[in-house]
């Protein structure tokens, strides 16, 4: 008992030193992690916690879906009426689009051009966690280097673009969502082909900025990736324009975009494994030289 009290007094008398040593340990961890020395430790920490997260995430999504179902019954009834009306309109448009598609196919054959999206190879991954720190909008998926996942690979779902892989371990990967405020995707309005840059707003929505003032952007326009910059393949769906307004600088337009994806309830995603992002850093070096 006396030894124990002495032990406690010892720590208390050296509190400053104790704090210094602890912070140094943190600094060593951070540096080791950044230069890759701690990758095996990070992997071994991640494996059990990712496994637990995967189980809890399934439960959370089921609960969320059940709660959402109850709350949305009334909304669904209203939406159903709207959709029936829209369906009649879209059926007419479908006939027209089928004609255009067959024309496109013929032209594409003639030009020997194949859309990159048709040649994509995917790895299906389960979303096992969302970013713990809330500062960054990222998700963790249960596929890593063992499954052929590499940094830079685009991540999609049937509803459109989700983000891109930014960190990979042997069995898991972190994906930066397109709703992250520091993310930027080159986008294009499908109808007018106007280019812009899609980034995440702080409230979690998507915004397409840098749209030229003379370009027509309307509510309901579909936004797809343009492929400019080489980070994403072209023609992946990003979302739909919900409103347009002039940008604060007055030099361009800004469109609010609604993604078809609910990024907080993602269950499965597809990683595009045969797309290689273009490394433009070489041009920076040439410019500096």
């Amino acid at each position: 008992m006396n030894g124990g009290l002495g032990y406690r007094r010892n720590w208390r008398s050296n509190r400053g030193l104790f704090l210094f040593v602890t912070l140094m340990a943190c600094a060593i961890l951070i540096i080791g992690s950044r230069i890759g020395l701690l990758t095996p430790i990070e992997d071994s920490v991640a494996v059990p916690i990712n496994a637990l997260s995967a189980i809890l995430n399934r439960v959370a999504l089921r609960l969320n879906a059940s709660a959402g179902d109850l709350a949305q019954i009334q909304a669904l009834q209203r939406r159903n009426a709207e959709l029936e009306e829209a369906l009649a309109q879209f059926q007419a448009e479908l006939v027209e689009l089928r004609e255009i598609a067959s024309d496109y196919q013929r032209l594409a054959d003639l030009l020997d051009y194949t859309s990159t999206t048709l040649n994509m190879e995917f790895v299906i991954a389960e979303v096992i966690a969302l970013d713990q720190n809330a500062i960054f909008r990222t998700i963790t998926i249960n596929r890593g280097t063992r499954d052929g996942i590499a940094v830079g690979m685009p991540v999609v779902t049937r509803q459109g673009l989700v983000g891109r892989v930014i960190q990979v371990s042997a069995t898991a990967a972190h994906v930066m969502l397109i709703t992250e405020t520091t993310s930027s995707v080159s986008g294009r309005l499908q109808t007018t082909r106007a280019e812009g840059s899609v980034f995440g707003a702080p409230n979690g929505n998507l915004v397409m900025g840098m749209i030229p003032l003379d370009a027509q952007a309307r509510e309901g326009d579909l936004v797809v990736t343009s492929g400019l910059g080489g980070n994403f393949p072209a023609d992946l769906v990003i979302g739909q324009v919900t409103s347009v307004r002039p940008a604060e600088n007055g030099l361009s337009q800004e469109a609010q975009i609604r993604s078809l994806i609910n990024f907080d309830t993602l269950e499965f995603v597809l990683v595009v494994t045969n797309f290689q992002p273009v490394d433009l850093s070489v041009f920076d070096q040439v410019g500096r030289n």
């Binding site: 509190r15 943190c26 961890l29 992690s33 990712n50 809890l56 970013d131 809330a134 500062i135």
Partner: protein, 169 residues
Amino acid sequence: MRTLVGVLLLGLAAALGSTFMPQIRVFGGMPDLVLLLVLSLAVFHPLERAVTWALIGGIFQDGLSITPLGASSVGLVLMVFFIDWVRGQVFGVGLLTLLGVTMIGTAAQKVILLLISALVGFPIRPLETAMYVILPTIVYNVIFLFPVYWFTRRLSRERARHPERLTRP
């Protein structure tokens, strides 16, 4: 409370923080269970043990984030030392004091994390993060502190019954 139990609780809190908590996200803010658990544990346990939990809790958080290992631990460790310092200044750290420490601690932990993220090369947006992440997280943490504090107080009753366990190195 044994260290292993604390470690398991922190692992569970980290996993809940990346699965259940994002479902109730307001803007970018959500309850930080690991921070709340570490702060509450620090009230009822000696400094050296609380520091261990702060280090491990931070490592669990970073395991589920893109931040480098140890980045989240810095803020947690500093907050644990702050609680220890407060304990030395006043008669005891109660729920009200802890409420204040939680508000300061949440902001401090996120700011420290932002600084470390910027230092290691992650792009950050400080003002937007303050508005849309830190403020909602503070509100959430204040609400969630009550159940977490109640839970850790119950656990600490074992400590009161078996004080000799704490003196084990």
